[in-house]
């Protein structure tokens, strides 16, 4: 942990995440208007009343931009959390148990790896009746867990044959205890790296789905801001700020999570460490 906080990338990533976290928490206080208020004239330019102008729907751009941090943080953290749990279960069962279970589970993992994710998301989303946050997290999990599960599996396999595991088994420890106290802690680094990796994936993919208009574009979010900018012909109206800024926010948040992912990798893998 100490090494982690001395890592510059970790610090940079952490500050970005903390910054967006604060914006998300304080959005109701920071927002000059309610982002759901449609009562302004559409496509106003920047002014003292509306620092970034208004949307084609007549909402205040700045309010929307700030409030959107909530959606992205929520989706990123909850999806990454769910994905991590799924990956952990899959990785351990598959890698640590071995045998037929492993054969079946890794085939499933492989199938999900080769199926093209984005169209799959659209197909599954069409099938689900409710288009809320839970649905979004669910479909992002379905298409996003396989990659990391593979990494965890090979980690579990390599742990299986380590001497201290052998010792634990010889001493007659229960299997679930071994998993809980010997396997999981040793996977912590990979798990954390995967968590942040999944967060990057969630932020980008959710924004993409919103941009295509596949999931609920009434969500106050950066992706929906881009969707409405495009739908309202922002380009033809020469309003490029509402297209530029949400993208920059997505990019920054993604970079933040990415840097954390990278830093955890570096700290956890001694070969990547400096020196």
């Amino acid at each position: 942990m100490k090494g982690f906080l001395h890592n510059k990338k970790a610090l940079a990533g952490l500050s970005i995440i903390v910054f967006f976290g604060l914006v998300a928490l304080l959005a109701p206080l920071l927002d000059p208007y309610n982002p759901n208020d449609f009562n302004f004239m559409p496509w106003l330019g920047p002014s003292s009343a509306h620092w970034l102008g208004t949307t084609g729907q007549g909402q205040d751009e700045l309010s929307w931009l700030l409030y959107s941090a909530r959606d992205s943080m929520l989706i990123a953290l909850s999806t990454a959390g769910v994905i991590s749990v799924v990956q952990l279960l899959f990785g351990i069962f598959s890698g640590y148990t071995g045998g037929l279970t492993d054969g079946v589970l890794s085939t499933v993992t492989n199938v999900f790896l080769v199926l093209p994710g984005l169209p799959l998301l659209i197909v599954i989303d069409a099938y689900l009746p409710n288009k809320g946050t839970v649905t979004t997290v669910f479909i992002l999990t379905i298409t996003g867990w396989a990659w990391g599960a593979r990494v965890l599996r090979s980690q579990a396999i390599s742990l299986r044959d380590r001497p201290f595991m052998e010792a634990a088994r010889m001493s007659g420890e229960r299997r679930w205890r071994i998993v809980l106290f010997n396997v999981v802690p040793n996977m912590f680094g990979v798990l954390a790296a995967n968590f942040f990796g999944a967060a990057v994936y969630a932020v980008l993919t959710e924004a993409g789905l919103l941009f295509l208009g596949v999931i609920n574009v009434n969500t106050i979010s950066w992706g929906s801001m881009l969707y409405w900018a495009q739908a309202g012909s922002a380009m033809l109206e020469n309003k490029w700020l509402p297209m530029l800024l949400p993208g920059v926010c997505i990019l920054l948040l993604g970079t933040g999570f990415g840097l954390l992912n990278f830093a955890v990798d570096e700290v956890a893998d001694p070969r990547l460490r400096r020196g």
Binding site: K9, L118, Y127, I157, G208, F211, G254, G258, L272
Partner: protein, 327 residues
Amino acid sequence: MRYIIRRVLLLLLTGWAALTINFALPRLMPGSPIQVMAAKYTGRLTPSALAAIAQALGLKNKQNVFVQYWTYLGHTLTGNFGYSLSEYPTKVSTLLAQNLPWTLGLVGFATVVAFVLGTFIGAVAAWRRGSLFDSIVVPTGMMLAAMPSFWISTMAIYFLSYKLGWFPLFGGSSSGSLTSVAGLGSILSHAALPAMVLAVISLGGFMLVMRNTTVSVMSDDYVKFARAKGLRNFTVASRYAARNATLPVVTNFALALGTVVAGTIFVEYVFSYPGIANLLYIAVTSEDYPLMQAIFLVIVLAVLLANFVADMLYVVLDPRIRVGGRA
């Protein structure tokens, strides 16, 4: 040998499972292509027209699902994909042949550029670990990897095509004839911007993976040994470290091919590019099952084969596997 047989079996098994999911998915989707059409024409098609179309598309005679599955497997293996529903009565194979070359050209070019540039930058950054160059490369790579492809495409079109007029706005070409010199020039000028965007967004991944694998390889004994033997830095870097680090980069890419498809969908969608990724998006949104299945199949096969080839490369290049039988 056992390793190769296992790989082949796994390939077949994964392929079959993917085929089956491919069969089931569109049938799980609610609604029908006729309802999509009714919605697309927003009331301009009368109910009797819709009924006639449903009849012509053969959507009214419901077969047993197992019979359908069996026919589907047979047709897939013989490459008979039937008619597209959204562009009836065009054959699916015709549409694939029309659209696939565009995407292959775009993705092929972008990947080669990103691979060459990315591995080079990654290797140099690893070699000069801790230097200013390295400390710029890592966050830059991170930002490129976190770049929303649809956003950078939109921005590129707005500023470079719309405002500055440097590139055509959209599409694959502007001339009707594609074989003439003018046609070729038109194709290239249309492909330039989307290809650059694709290259830029895939560059980050190559850079970072290459950097990290090279760093790992450099701590391996044989590289340390080579350095200790007093070989020149450049020789060690290029012959030993970079070469051995490239292999994981390739396999990583083979695995990530599925996600490359997603990025390509966005780019082709925003640029209105006549490629297969855009066609897939259209097939999915118009519930064109036969077309959707065929494109899924093409992608799945491509990813599977790429992975298989990567596995085989390992066998050829990394002698440890031939003995060890690593899974």
